[in-house]
């Protein structure tokens, strides 16, 4: 067994176990952290098939940004998992049936008969100076320019939608406007000098 194969089985096992933990943990924070582990170990699997750009970006985007925000929210919420699991036993038979049917179908279709090594032989190893970052960039900005642009529009729509649905200015909140604060000029904005007439001599009793 080559070292790479050994690594593959290690990280594949970690991914599967972590993914299983995600659905079985009682504590939602633990579940999210197991999901992070599953992402990291699948990134390693991607590295093993020489897709280093995608592997690193998976860590950077999903683990480094998306899951942090996710964890953030989960920590703030008091998720009552008992309530969520209430219907678990009741729906278990039908859920199990559907899952089993899907599994059998997928095994029949995606199994080795159609996607085995004969249909998809191992691709030749890339030469040493091959950079898949560059190759990916070329493909994205030439061949797939149009889908890439549409994806950009989709992200823009997501931003607009998210802001529209959540941002509201409540009239009763008091907040500081930092940009107004930092624009305060040294002169009249900070200090106001008031000229007052002298009050004259004060009588001392």
């Amino acid at each position: 067994m080559g070292f790479e194969k050994f690594l593959f089985y290690c990280f594949a096992a970690i991914t599967v176990v972590a993914a299983g933990m995600v659905v079985t943990r009682r504590n939602p924070v633990h579940a999210v952290l197991y999901l992070v582990l599953a992402f990291v170990s699948s990134a390693v699997l991607w590295l093993l098939i020489e897709a280093e750009f995608l592997g690193i970006v998976l860590v950077l985007v999903y683990v480094g940004a998306v899951m942090v925000l996710f964890l953030f929210v989960v920590m703030m919420l008091d998720v009552d998992l008992a309530a969520l699991r209430a219907g678990f036993v009741r729906f278990l038979p039908i859920g199990g049936l559907v899952a089993a049917a899907m599994a059998v179908q997928i095994f029949l279709v995606v199994g080795p008969a159609n996607f085995g090594l004969e249909a998809f032989p191992k691709p030749p190893a890339a030469p040493a100076e091959y950079s898949n970052t560059e190759a990916l960039g070329l493909a994205l900005y030439t061949e797939h320019l149009y889908p890439f642009e549409i994806a950009a529009v989709i992200l823009l729509v997501a931003i607009v939608a998210a802001i529209r649905l959540t941002l509201r200015r409540r009239p009763d909140t008091k907040y500081i406007d930092p940009s107004a604060q930092v624009q305060v000029k040294k002169g009249p904005d900070r200090v106001r000098l008031v000229k007052m007439p002298a009050e004259g001599k004060v009588e001392t009793p």
């Binding site: 280093e52 690193i56 970006v57 860590v59 953030f72 930092v182």
Partner: protein, 343 residues
């Protein structure tokens, strides 16, 4: 078995790791001393001077003290995660050093996507802080963790964009190649054409490491000590190590990406073969020490930023600046602006 044939490679890599980490940890220890001394002098004090000659053994005394202290675990804390958090904090801070080149060709792992790797690993550091904050079962810790997570995620964007500028300018993600692209003299280093990005990167680096003046995650005077308020002994020391290792990492990256790494500031023709003036590791060291000093200098000079001001700076100032400058750099590269991108 094939597994055994790869053994020599593994041993070589392990030795390389040791060769990097031991000096690094030593540097971290003495960086803490330097911090106390330098800030002391800036504030017209002497700083530690009792342990050893001029206080030189102080870090060792601190280490011994921390090692023998009890690690107190708060009631109802999540014990496993509480102990895991410091390790998660320090692991990426150390692992990032794998792709840092110290001299031409002197690097543990010379990978193509080096810059991305660094970015990915530094983005993982936040997990240590969040987990510590949550697992401590303490309100101050949770507040600190929340502040820190929001701050790190925000500044990561500005930092990432600044690095995109470097990547566009150098045309490579490999750190060695990025240094190579700056060869010439101090004027051809990237700090000049990428001046706004350099500023953004340095400030974001300070924010990413939660250092003053962006240390709201610790905020001694507001939330006691933030995310690590419940930690003691070695667990606390590991957080401390991670923070300083990260600062050194940021300083090194600044030197590599914007200040030509190990390149000599003088034109090659003048110093070719001249001892200490030619390119070499010592130049990198000088530059790194300078930026490490800047970190301390900032801490001694500026008062802490307010939280909303930090967010505003990151989102409304830095991100627009970086996006605009990436456009400028892109145009400069396409139209081969001399002297940096002359044919």
């Amino acid at each position: 078995m094939e597994l055994w044939t790869s053994l020599p490679v593994i041993v070589r890599i392990l030795l390389g790791i040791v060769a990097i980490l031991l000096p690094l940890l030593g540097l971290v220890a003495y960086y803490t001393l330097a911090e106390r001394k330098i800030i002391g002098y800036i504030q017209v004090r002497i700083g530690p001077n009792r342990v050893g000659f001029r206080g030189l053994l102080q870090p060792i005394a601190d280490a011994v003290k921390l090692m023998f202290k009890e690690i107190v675990i708060p009631t109802r804390a999540d014990k496993g995660l509480f102990l895991l958090a410091p390790m998660i904090a320090i692991a990426p801070a150390l692992a990032a050093w794998a792709v840092i080149p110290f001299d031409a060709g002197l690097v543990l792992s010379d990978i193509n996507a080096g810059l991305l790797y660094i970015l990915a690993l530094t983005s993982l550091g936040v997990y240590g802080i969040i987990i510590a904050g949550w697992a401590s079962n303490s309100k101050y810790a949770l507040l600190g963790a929340m502040r820190s997570a929001a701050q790190i995620v925000s500044y990561e964007i500005a930092m990432g964009f600044a690095l995109v500028g470097v990547l566009v300018a150098a045309g490579s993600l490999n750190l060695g190649a990025i240094v190579g692209a700056q060869s010439g003299s101090a004027l051809t280093w990237f700090w000049l054409p990428l001046l706004p990005l350099f500023g953004v990167y340095l400030v974001s680096g300070v924010a990413e490491t939660n250092r003053a003046p962006f240390d709201v995650a610790e905020g001694e005077s507001e939330i006691v000590a933030g995310f690590h308020v419940e930690y003691s002994g070695m667990a606390f020391a590991v957080f401390f190590l991670a923070e300083y290792a990260n600062m050194i990492l940021i300083a090194t990256l600044t030197a590599l990406l914007f200040f030509g790494g190990w390149l000599s500031p003088f034109p090659q023709a003048w110093v070719d073969g001249v001892f200490l003036l030619d390119d070499g590791f010592h130049w990198l060291l000088v530059k790194v020490f300078f930026f490490m000093f800047v970190f301390l200098w900032l801490r001694a000079t500026f008062p802490r930023y307010r939280y909303d001001q930090i967010m505003r700076l990151g989102w409304k100032v830095f991100i627009p600046i970086t996006i605009a400058w990436i456009l400028v750099v892109g145009l400069a590269v396409v139209y081969k602006l001399p002297p940096w991108w002359a044919v």
